[in-house]
């Protein structure tokens, strides 16, 4: 049995749990907690350890999706989650510019943990205030060879597309390395 791991990361409330929920065949084993701090009361649940989703590709091949906790005070989990991953998705909250700097720093941190392929997904594109993916590319100084994809994490089809793009990037890197 072969298992493959993809990590979904991004700032607080970017939609990581939603992203994994939309595609996982099992209920996301999220370790959610009620939010107590006033300043974080934009929603009532947050992930404190990790999200965990599963997709059975075949009898002998399983894809696991791990979501990181979005809040910095849990970032000790990141390195553990990053271990051995195939690649990662950085989810951006396209409607919250105040999270962009944090998103960039999460991206840098993950790249330092493991220089594996990654894509950036500009989530919540269904909302009116969403920044366009190409604007986000500039705002976050995402290099041109990295994909910045539009994303609506509530839409399974869309989530699947993001994962496909990541897999294509993995192939490209494999081919480039020979």
């Amino acid at each position: 049995m072969q298992t493959v791991k993809i990590v979904v990361t991004g700032p607080f409330s970017a939609g990581k749990t939603q992203f994994i929920q939309s595609i996982s065949e099992i209920d996301v084993v999220a370790t959610e907690r009620k939010i107590s701090r006033a300043e974080e009361r934009v929603k009532d649940q947050t992930t404190v350890a990790m999200d965990f989703g599963r997709i059975s590709v075949a009898d002998d091949l399983v894809l696991y999706l791990f979501g990181t906790p979005g809040q910095r005070r849990f970032d000790f989990m990141w390195e553990i989650l990053a271990e051995g991953m195939l690649g990662f998705v950085v989810l951006l909250d396209s409607v919250k510019p105040e999270t962009f700097r944090e998103a960039r720093s999460i991206l840098d941190t993950f790249r330092a943990y493991a220089p594996v392929p990654y894509v950036v997904a500009a989530n919540k594109q269904d909302l009116e205030d969403a920044w366009a993916p190409e604007d986000l590319r500039i705002a976050l100084r995402i290099p041109s060879e990295i994909k910045v994809l539009p994303c609506v994490a509530t839409d399974r089809e869309n989530v699947q597309q993001v994962l496909l793009e990541l897999l294509f990037s993995v192939l490209e890197i494999m081919d480039a390395e020979g």
């Binding site: 072969q2 493959v4 590709v57 075949a58 091949l61 894809l63 051995g84 991953m85 195939l86 690649g87 720093s105 840098d108 941190t109 790249r111 330092a112 493991a114 220089p115 594996v116 392929p117 100084r141 290099p143 041109s144 060879e145 990295i146 089809e157 699947q160 597309q161 994962l163 496909l164 897999l167 294509f168 993995v170 192939l171 890197i173 494999m174 390395e177």
Partner: protein, 275 residues
């Protein structure tokens, strides 16, 4: 017990952590493409570090921290009658050139500046030889590794950011033409002034660093600040033709994951069938 490997698999941070927790004594040698670095530990504490390109002699350390002039340092190093750094230290102290405190500070800052860049190395063979302390003649200073690891990790993150901003050091700088700005009205550190004095489209950033004996980290920080302040801009070095189709940015170096191509292809066709 062998402690050998590559930083790709076991990072500088992990190594130092291990040495710290296991309270090891010995010498760690790291060989990267361009340089070799050696770190000595005693019971889990860093006591000495040096990189091959500068020899790690006390006279040079004192020169770097501004306690000796270049001439003085050179004169001292050419003398063959001084057997060890310890002896030299005593001599300089007795002659009133430096205090004991100057020596301790200079050696400590030299050790730390030799170690911090290692946190940004992602590739390099390392080996740890237990109980081997080859630098008997040098002055050693015990430094707790926790602080070194904390500061090193911080710098690693800062480094990633700087690297991203200025991926290529073989680029030149020129002053921005803004008549309103007068360089001498701007508050700059000595290091910044040194860099500024070399700005010329014929000098690459790498060369400026070499002239001033600065590490890549130091020069990147300074150039970053000068660029941010809008005082200088990047320019292709005079006399260098652009490589055909060369992108402005170096590609991000990525490592393919340890998964077979066939597995990735299966995942792709799985998702393609479902959509």
């Amino acid at each position: 017990m062998a402690l050998k490997g590559n930083l790709r698999d076991f990072s500088t941070t992990q190594l130092l952590n291990l040495i710290n927790l296991a309270r090891k004594t010995g010498t760690l040698t790291i060989d990267a493409k361009r340089e070799r670095s050696r770190l000595c530990f005693k019971e889990g504490r860093l006591i000495y570090a040096t990189s091959d390109d500068d020899g790690g002699h006390l006279a040079m350390m004192l020169q770097r921290s501004g306690k000796l002039t270049e001439e003085q340092a050179r004169a001292i190093q050419s003398r063959t009658d001084i057997k060890s750094d310890k002896e030299l230290g005593l001599l300089l102290m007795n002659a009133g050139y430096v205090s004991q405190d100057d020596i301790v500070r200079s050696v400590q800052s030299y050790i730390l500046n030799s170690v911090y860049p290692l946190f940004t190395w992602v590739d390099g063979k390392f080996r740890f030889e237990a109980s081997v302390l080859p630098f008997e003649d040098r002055i050693t200073i015990p430094i707790n590794l926790e602080n070194v690891i904390m500061e090193g990790s911080r710098r690693m993150q800062e480094w990633e950011h700087l690297l991203d901003y200025l991926p290529d050091l073989d680029i030149a700088l020129r002053f921005v033409e803004r008549p309103s700005v007068r360089m001498r009205d701007i508050n700059m550190s000595v290091e910044e002034w040194r860099v500024v004095s070399f700005i010329n489209p014929r000098n690459t950033v790498r060369q400026i660093a070499q002239y001033n004996n600065m590490s890549e980290f130091q020069i990147r920080k300074i150039v970053y600040a000068l660029l941010q302040a809008g005082l200088v801009e990047l320019t292709r070095p005079a006399g260098v033709k652009p490589a055909p189709g060369a992108p402005g940015k170096a590609p991000v170096t990525m490592r393919p994951p340890a998964v077979k191509r066939g597995v990735v292809e299966r995942l792709i066709s799985f998702f393609q069938q479902r959509s």
